[in-house]
């Protein structure tokens, strides 16, 4: 996941909020040989549904087959493809980085530049929180590697279509009803 997909699709999948739905979706990807780069699940404003945001690579996953196969799952209600060029993508990361007295100042400076936040402080380590476009997280991660990353977690991306001309950019692929 560290390397962002060179060419990817972002699928926003509305599913029924039922036990096992995530397993159905992920095992479908495994079974059909589609690679998932990231996957994020969250409740929606309607408690009957959840939204799964999936990033898949273009190579292994012909978009049409992915969406059609996904749509065969009974609990999948709606699938939208978000064109990465016309979507707002965000991801969150927390990481622990070495920050000994000699380098601590530099690390803090970089956190500032990237508009991150220091959320925990140890003797010679800092835990940093950073949210933003996935590429910004990648850059920050690269920079921090020089200091020594202790632990790192990223949430996987969530995305929404950009607001202007939303209608033409959100290609609704498999809407039922």
């Amino acid at each position: 996941m560290a390397n962002p997909p060179p060419r990817h699709h972002i699928l926003s999948v509305l599913v029924e909020n039922k036990a096992g739905v995530l397993a159905r979706v992920s095992s479908l990807f495994a079974r059909r040989g589609f690679n998932i780069y990231s996957l994020a699940v969250a409740p929606t404003d309607d408690e009957r549904f959840s939204r799964i945001t999936i990033v898949v690579d273009v190579e292994s996953s012909p978009l049409e087959q992915v969406t059609k196969q996904l749509f065969k799952l009974i609990n999948v209600v709606k699938i939208s493809e978000l064109d990465p060029a016309h979507a707002v993508e965000r991801e969150m990361m927390i990481l622990t980085v070495k920050a000994e007295p000699g380098t601590r100042g530099q690390v803090i400076e970089l956190v500032d530049v990237f508009q991150g936040r220091i959320v925990d402080v140890g003797h010679d380590e800092l835990t940093i929180e950073l949210a933003g476009p996935p590429s910004k997280l990648d850059d920050f991660e690269d920079l921090m590697r020089a200091y020594g990353i202790g632990a790192l977690q990223r949430t996987g991306r969530v995305a929404l279509p950009k607001l202007e001309r939303t209608a033409t950019r959100l290609r609704s692929i498999g809407k039922v009803g």
């Binding site: 029924e16 096992g20 397993a23 095992s27 087959q65 749509f71 009974i74 209600v77």
Partner: protein
């Protein structure tokens, strides 16, 4: 009305019009077996749960109604995994109910616990673990709806024991049969897009060498009559895939028979040379296309399927139409009529007739002293000695291909086999299921000796339940199809394919299971044995046909090669162009 979950389950099955359940009880499903005693639903006690699953499939194939099987948790559930996968591949509507350990024990590795919902996720159209007795009627109703609509398929419902056990408070429920189904993510498209249908009609009108490529979807959609109308209206010839044998009468002048790996030369080659393939409920399976890149290179494609994921999965259609085959064909017929008369295709039709005359299916039965009995001869005798609407059920192997090739299927729903999964052991239980659904019809299982040994014990079920199926074992003493591949592609190095003609003694085995057993070794004995078998209607019959073990299935397109390279047989060499 207050019921317990077990009663609610049985009542739900009754509400769905279920007349028969194939099953075998055990600890977790035990409470459901009590209310069954008082239900009008017939329960057929199988000897192995795989049998229950294939019986449900055979029943569904023959009747078009969903088959139902019920088994216990753990090993009962895992034993029915193969039929679920089989039904998934061949789009057979079945509903399987599995017992599960009590809710509180789930996840503890309790006795006979198995996460069958997890195991069968990718081999069911849908599955569901019930979490409250109150949900049972709704989930059963949804299961039947999902199994039978859109592209049909298997649905599994897993029910923890506490929800059906009257001694457990968790089983308490208030009976309520939902009056509508609410599945926001499931709304299959049945009507084809009118513009696409017009485009299809245009392509048909322009085509000079069209072929209708009819698949199992024709039978699922009960569209055989519509298909015939379309073919006759347009004068376009029809190939029927292994899953569609009988969907268009073999006796019809426009019928080209089966295409694919062991299809006949004309069916294969007509597709290769066509300029338009009208794929109706077929899915460009690798056994039909051979090497995909070389398949029907000059053909435009009209592809009709109720499952949108099939369109473009293997071959990109020029005109994709999502919809139920029957509904789409009916509309297509109208659109074709509007365009007026079809172009003159005499040249193509003459070519087809010429191929048929030049490259018929071929075998020779010798009648001399040492001449071995040919399996194809047995099938032809069986065909000619049995009622015209006999239902034929086969196993998987050479005997399956010969059955499909040499029987004449003139009615839909007379051919039942395991096409997609290729499940050895399918024939005997599926034949029993078919006979239960169609008790007035003669049902012949044509089985291999290898296949027979996998599920033969279900003939005990058939005897006990008085289900008079008939079984013809084409006993070639080998896993014949595998031997054929070893002969042709592994330099005759035979590895683990010999079975022996005498071990087991099939006649004695049949008799031990309460059937009439016969043995046939010479061509002269074939017809009389079949006549005798067809006259028996109070118990199952098994005939052990001792056939030529050297016989191979031809024509053949070797796996992964182009359909242009049809091997016609040892004496006829390679056809193609």
């Amino acid at each position: 009305m207050k019921l317990n979950g077990g009663q609610a389950l049985i009542k739900s099955l009754e509400m769905e019009g279920v007349e028969v359940v194939f099953g075998l009880p055990g600890g977790a499903i035990l409470p459901v077996y009590d209310p069954i005693i008082d239900s009008p639903i017939r329960h057929i006690l199988v000897r192995h749960e795989q049998g229950a699953g294939h019986m449900a499939e055979g029943y569904a194939h023959a009747t078009g109604r969903p088959g139902v099987a019920m088994v216990t948790s753990g090993p009962g559930a895992t034993n029915i995994v193969t039929p679920l996968a089989d039904a998934m591949m061949d789009s057979i509507p079945i509903v399987v109910i599995t017992g599960q350990v009590p809710s509180a024990a789930i996840g503890t590795d309790a006795f006979q616990e198995c996460d069958i919902v997890g195991v069968t996720r990718s081999i069911t159209k849908h599955n569901e673990l019930v979490t409250s007795a109150q949900d049972i009627p709704r989930i059963i109703q949804e299961a039947f709806h999902i199994a039978t609509t859109g592209r049909p398929g298997p649905v599994l419902v897993d029910i923890p024991k506490d929800l059906v056990d009257p001694n457990n408070p968790n089983s308490a429920m208030e009976w309520e049969w939902p009056d509508s189904i609410d599945l926001p993510g499931y709304k299959p498209t049945t009507k084809g897009h009118p513009r696409m249908i017009r485009e299809a009609a245009n392509l048909i009108a322009e085509s000079r060498r069209p072929v209708i490529y009819a698949g199992g979807g024709i039978l699922k959609a009960r569209a055989a009559q519509a298909l015939r109308e379309l073919a006759e209206l347009t004068g376009i010839s029809v190939v029927t895939t292994l899953m569609a044998r009988g969907a268009f009468p073999d006796s019809h002048p426009l019928c080209l028979g089966m295409p694919g790996m062991h299809g006949n030369y004309t069916a294969i080659t007509s597709m290769q040379q066509s300029d338009l393939l009208i794929a109706l409920g077929s899915r460009f399976d690798d056994r039909v296309t051979g090497k995909v890149g070389a398949f029907a290179p000059g053909a435009k494609i009209i592809h009709v399927d109720v499952d949108p994921a099939e369109l473009g999965k293997v071959r990109r259609p020029d005109v994709p139409i999502v919809g139920d085959c029957k509904a789409v064909i009916d509309e297509l017929i109208k659109a074709v009529r509007e365009l007026g008369p079809q172009p003159d295709r005499a040249e193509w039709d003459t070519q087809l007739k010429q191929w048929q005359a030049q490259f018929p299916l071929h075998y020779e039965q010798g009648w001399g002293e040492g001449d071995a009995l040919k399996p194809q001869f047995c099938i032809e005798q069986l065909r000619d000695g049995s009622p015209e609407d006999t239902i034929v059920v086969s196993g998987v192997g050479q005997h399956q291909m010969w059955s499909s090739q040499f029987w004449r299927f003139n009615h839909p729903y007379t051919w039942i086999n395991s096409g997609g999964l290729g499940t050895m052991g399918f024939a005997v239980p599926a034949a029993i299921g078919a006979k239960v659904g169609m008790p007035g019809r003669t049902v012949w299982a044509i089985d291999g000796d290898g296949c027979f040994q996998m599920t033969a014990q279900e003939l005990v079920t058939a005897s006990a339940e008085r289900i008079p199926v008939k079984v013809a074992i084409l006993n070639n003493a080998y896993l014949g199809m595998v031997r054929q591949w070893q002969e042709l592609f592994y330099e005759e190095r035979y590895s683990e394919v010999y079975l022996s003609p005498d071990l087991p003694d099939y006649k004695m085995w049949a008799e031990a299971m309460g059937c009439v057993g016969m043995r046939v070794e010479h061509p002269d004995e074939v017809a009389p044995a079949i006549e005798k078998a067809n006259s028996i209607d109070d118990r199952p019959v098994v005939i052990d046909f001792r056939v030529d073990w050297t016989e191979k299935v031809y024509p053949m397109v070797a796996a992964g090669t182009s359909n242009d390279a049809v091997i016609l047989g040892p004496e006829m060499g390679e056809g193609g162009h």
